[in-house]
Symmetry: D2
Subunit: 366 residues, 4 copies
Amino acid sequence: MKNTIGTSVSLTVFGESHGAAIGAVIDGLAPGIPVDEEFISAQLSKRRPSGKISTSRVEQDRFSILSGVFNGKTTGTPLTIIIPNENTKSSDYTVGPRLARPGHADYTASLKYHGFEDFRGGGHFSGRVTAAIVAAGAIAISALNSKGIKIGTHIKSCGGITDREFGNIPEEIDMLNGLDFAVLDPEIAGAMKEKIESAASEGDSVGGVLETAVTGFPGGVGEPIFDTVEGLLAHALFGIPAVKGVEFGDGFKLAGMRGSEANDPIENKNGRINMKTNRAGGVNGGITNGMPIVFSCAIKPTPSIFKTQDTVDLATRENAVLSLKGRHDPAIIHRARVVVDSVAAIVLCDLLAGRFGTDYLSGRAD
Amino acid sequence: MKNTIGTSVSLTVFGESHGAAIGAVIDGLAPGIPVDEEFISAQLSKRRPSGKISTSRVEQDRFSILSGVFNGKTTGTPLTIIIPNENTKSSDYTVGPRLARPGHADYTASLKYHGFEDFRGGGHFSGRVTAAIVAAGAIAISALNSKGIKIGTHIKSCGGITDREFGNIPEEIDMLNGLDFAVLDPEIAGAMKEKIESAASEGDSVGGVLETAVTGFPGGVGEPIFDTVEGLLAHALFGIPAVKGVEFGDGFKLAGMRGSEANDPIENKNGRINMKTNRAGGVNGGITNGMPIVFSCAIKPTPSIFKTQDTVDLATRENAVLSLKGRHDPAIIHRARVVVDSVAAIVLCDLLAGRFGTDYLSGRAD
Amino acid sequence: MKNTIGTSVSLTVFGESHGAAIGAVIDGLAPGIPVDEEFISAQLSKRRPSGKISTSRVEQDRFSILSGVFNGKTTGTPLTIIIPNENTKSSDYTVGPRLARPGHADYTASLKYHGFEDFRGGGHFSGRVTAAIVAAGAIAISALNSKGIKIGTHIKSCGGITDREFGNIPEEIDMLNGLDFAVLDPEIAGAMKEKIESAASEGDSVGGVLETAVTGFPGGVGEPIFDTVEGLLAHALFGIPAVKGVEFGDGFKLAGMRGSEANDPIENKNGRINMKTNRAGGVNGGITNGMPIVFSCAIKPTPSIFKTQDTVDLATRENAVLSLKGRHDPAIIHRARVVVDSVAAIVLCDLLAGRFGTDYLSGRAD
Amino acid sequence: MKNTIGTSVSLTVFGESHGAAIGAVIDGLAPGIPVDEEFISAQLSKRRPSGKISTSRVEQDRFSILSGVFNGKTTGTPLTIIIPNENTKSSDYTVGPRLARPGHADYTASLKYHGFEDFRGGGHFSGRVTAAIVAAGAIAISALNSKGIKIGTHIKSCGGITDREFGNIPEEIDMLNGLDFAVLDPEIAGAMKEKIESAASEGDSVGGVLETAVTGFPGGVGEPIFDTVEGLLAHALFGIPAVKGVEFGDGFKLAGMRGSEANDPIENKNGRINMKTNRAGGVNGGITNGMPIVFSCAIKPTPSIFKTQDTVDLATRENAVLSLKGRHDPAIIHRARVVVDSVAAIVLCDLLAGRFGTDYLSGRAD
């Protein structure tokens, strides 16, 4: 399915950085979900670059919903949303004789598409296409919210600075979703931004780790082998440019623990079964256990840097030195957090629709 | 598709720990691939427990191929391989009133299957089913080998001991595939095993990290969004019980680097384009770049430990204390490495067949 | 997915006519569905050849359930059922120098599998594999029955003899399911059998049309474009060897009608909305309307005939004349009817699970 | 996947009759296929209503390609094409209190979407969405043509008039593709149109049968069980509104033949193996045999007629009498033929890419 993820609810993403428009099709969403265009705009604005820590290419992200919405609610048929590209400066990206940018997909795209790819601004590989994911994801997030399911992401680490851990998750999700720069500890936002600006001033970039929590998601969802909740989420999350690692709960830290530390003890607390700890990140055997689903994504530093780099010319295959010009992000982690939420929301809607049927997320009175 | 992974080449896994048999169906394999039953046995023996560092339940893993092989070669139609369960002691697992084992899927299975699940020995959630994956994966590995593609995994860390890094990968893969306890530095095998035995002696268990390398895999394979090489591999790898994290190349370490450190410079070396470093693990923009594909899996410590644990009784939902008896692995990382190779091999065959057609892996003369 | 059909509930079929066993994996079935081994046997016996109108190769069809059933009920994990091949006489099929049998897949298999195919008795293309479909389908039929959904098929025409049309469908389905030779009009069974025997006596074979009805299936199931109820059923039904046409309701006859004849008027009859006629076969716009789902399959005459036929030798590619020996069916339509029911039942279970969730067919108390 | 068909090459269709736009996404097309906008327009004009035998709602079908094309060729990434709806007169369709139109999906849509569906002009169920299929299909047809594969459809029967049979197929395909009203026998076009006009003058409509032939398609493509060429084509073809039956080769006529008549004898003719007849329609055992692929679709009469019809009011569920007003087609068969070609072309591209790899349809020099 290539540029599509999901079975019961699916998302297809299309478009290129400097083409007419980017967009997305969500299919399988329940009918009757309110589509809040202001919320879509607000989500897009979280992804939109702003300030010194982002690129100066700013798109207005004026989206249009072409299908699947009627009287302000989802119809249940494919919902297509497009965002025209407005602020494109292709000249910035013309690096003379098509030098492959290290860390980008220029070279691999040329292997796969034999030179027919739209290479302007990274084309289909540009982070630009994530705007379409965010627009579509906003509707999925609305649907989850209406079922009492919340999702939020914080910058766990960036440029060597580490945020504090999740505590009272549902409240913290609300707090994070109100922030432009999503950290749990407000004291560290400045320090992180300084690290980004410092890298920018050196023509360099930084990465980081995003940690996401989902609350209110029912237990008993997911499949034992292959269509595990971890596998489905990871499959989709690796589709976000720059994600190079995904872990659940304590993830790689679990590898260094003993079983007696890593196992989450189970208890009946006032009639509700839950785990005393949540090292598993809410999933056992691929199936949700009713605890918050928690996962982290490693975001590599933005590959577009101003330092000179060794590379090859894709036309001649000869060695060359690349000095990038143009507008680039010294970090995308603060913008990527809403993309992670959006991708995860689509996968979670898919899981719920598969488990409980296509009307589960519907706004209709049962 | 639930217990199935793959599109052009797919693997379906079935069976329960104490049922009649476990097994797997591979569909979409090219016709004419030699099926080497000795190699299948050898792979199974790498997964089979042995010595003090494993459970004392030892299955002979006498597999039968029911379909899809004719005159010693794949036919191209579905290949089904089953392994009867022989050494089952269900009494070991009867922990009285169905106490959910922390870290296992007992509780989540009860949420999903409402008590109809075969809970004996973990049922379908048992690591036992990975034997079927290994048997099927052996054929996929043979097919890859015939194309000059090699795959091998080492124990990167276990019980706090760390192996050295990959160096000359193709040779090291051959070396690793000849070992029962797969480490690059032979000096540390003893230390790791001591850590496992030490945990065992305390009724506890350990986890670790497995790192896998694939050489000879062509560039230009994979899709930009969603069906990325990373996403497809991670989707499948999270299906292995105990995997809680997957990262590519330098993975989570990339999150702490600057772009100038993380980008792999590109060069034309004697007419062949390659990267001077391989921090990306052989994949850019979801597509292979011709460098070795390198990824790591976090393996949590075996959840079956002999220490008493807090839990609930699934029948009464009341709080309880669990003291496990029976035969359990203090570590499964040394056995899991061949499962990782097998799962990865299936995914890689799927990618190749999708990219180059169903005859690509065929043994036929072209 | 090749030998797999279905999304929420899927069926994978494997095996060859003269291999060790044929079998099937059903995945996604709800937990708690009673598995009635006697009913499976009874369904298999409807497919088993008997009498002069069938081949003399009679298999006992002693099936084994390898996984997915515990305490007599489905667990919800993959259910694998195998049927060993016992009565194989490969010598019958050795027609000297591999002459392609006209109307069979011998030639097309050689194009696809390059000679690696198991050609004995048609291999994977043999009608034999439909026994596995019937065994798996029996469980799907049980699940549907427990929800008040019935399915039955009659031989609408065979050898030029035509059965009467459906009347009181639910009762007729019960009646048909009790018959070995399924016709609505008991008077014509003899005439049809005579036609088959007459063809057999001339070394020839006959085909026919099967018409299937499903009652009790809820309305509002199916998708508008591509995953229509018609499309999903047809996709699966064409997987039955010998099916060369599928139509819904009045099907091809509708093509000759005017709109005023073809449209089914709608009425509210005692509070229940239904159609006054059912020319659409229970589906409008790809979605069920609550009326019986009715469809017909064209079954071509068995291609194995004793008359001499022009063909080629697959080894030498030279022209040749084929005179088949061995045991062959002069008709398979009376045996195919239970295969049609089985395939349809899997698709209908898939549709219900996708629409109403994985527990819909569960036997659990809600 | 619902509104998506295909695996290696997939088509997703979206939009509603009176929404902003309809459109389609094709994913998986090889890079480098020339995109001929004039050919797309020409294909759309074949589908566009004209004259007395069609509705008077005429859309200009001014399409825009939003993504996936660069420098006039496919890039290999998702190709999205949209067609804004311009000439919508929603008032025509307001039949007062939402009376369900018999033969349409109004009632089934209300069951599935609970009233949230966009019912204007049939919404997503309108034949209007087939314009998007035609636009996308034009590119698939171009890709097939570049490989020497041709596809064409004639009106086999309409209003009781029957066209002659295919003879010299490749030439006839060229001839048919140049016609607005596609019949092999030019003499009968007038008679068929008269039948349509005659039905129109009585406020009624007619249906018919479309027969399609594909030449130049390689043998050895397709899968034995479930992903048969017949099953994949039928799955997609039933997605075209009004298709109620699909048959291959002689289809339902085969059911009345004997084996000796139905089998296609095989011969080596000048070194090329082919069949002396083509009753199987080019497919044996689900796999192509190198002969023309031939199939027929039953097209029911247009359900929108001006005669009064019994129905119910969807709002009140009460019985009602419907008298349609507005602009409707007395026949759509002459317009549907290009939709059939388009759907089939997508499926055939999917089959080829799956069998021979993603570059097979590429325009690149190998």
